[in-house]
Symmetry: C2
């Protein structure tokens, strides 16, 4: 199989496959004329890489998985090194989620305070005037 076919089957561009080769993932055999030559195993490698990419793994993180697959294991995560990558990613995700929640709460607090001080209550000058309109509390509702 040549690069165009593999790219199409994997849903990637040829540029991507060449990039992976330049990074040392997905090394390719060559035919007599210098064309890259791939097989079904390479397609599985790409599917593995794609899955990891979708999970936000860096390309480098995919290396243990492809090594694992190429060494004959049925899945890329059948090797200890791959599991370590999983665990490291989990820890990274947990740390990142916690940090983002912390920031989120801070931003929400800033927003709430700024909304309070900016809008000193919607002027309760006459309760009758507000009748008929449901909850005119938020200023951004009227553009």
């Amino acid at each position: 199989m040549r690069i165009g076919e593999l790219a199409e089957r994997a849903g990637m561009t040829t540029r991507t496959l060449r990039y992976y080769e330049s990074r040392g993932l997905l090394p390719a055999r060559r035919t007599g004329n210098g064309y890259r030559d791939y097989d079904e195993t390479d397609l599985r490698l790409l599917e593995q890489i794609r899955t990891l990419q979708d999970f936000g793994f860096a390309l480098e993180d995919a290396r243990p998985f492809v090594d694992c697959l190429r060494s004959g294991h049925p899945t890329g995560d059948a090797c200890p090194a791959s599991l370590d990558v999983y665990r490291a990613k989990l820890a990274e995700l947990d740390a990142c989620i916690a940090e983002m929640q912390r920031v989120r709460n801070q931003v929400a607090a800033h927003l709430a305070y700024a909304e309070l001080t900016a809008a000193p209550a919607p002027e309760p000058r006459c309760d009758l005037a507000a009748a008929g309109r449901p909850a005119p509390s938020n200023p951004e509702d009227q553009p």
Copy 2:
């Protein structure tokens, strides 16, 4: 105040201040010899920018805040445009957190499954052999 002093007071490098100026944030007056000339207001602008940066806001997002401060408001988030940035960031953070949690659970599931199939239980061949050693359950405990 010249750029070196402001940079030191704000805890930034002169390169950063010049970069902000090139981006249109923090425009600087000039003295007769072409040196940039700053005042206390600029310091407050930088503190505002730094706070937002720490929250993960892009530099562009800081623009409404500095505009707000320069237009005389006591805080950078006293203007509607700034509040919109807050709200957009909140939505972005929520979406990002949700996505990361989703990915986290998927990765955890992959890890759990791979750990199961890789280690078919730590061979309970003899309970007596395990006596004396506390909880030898995890393979990564022995390097």
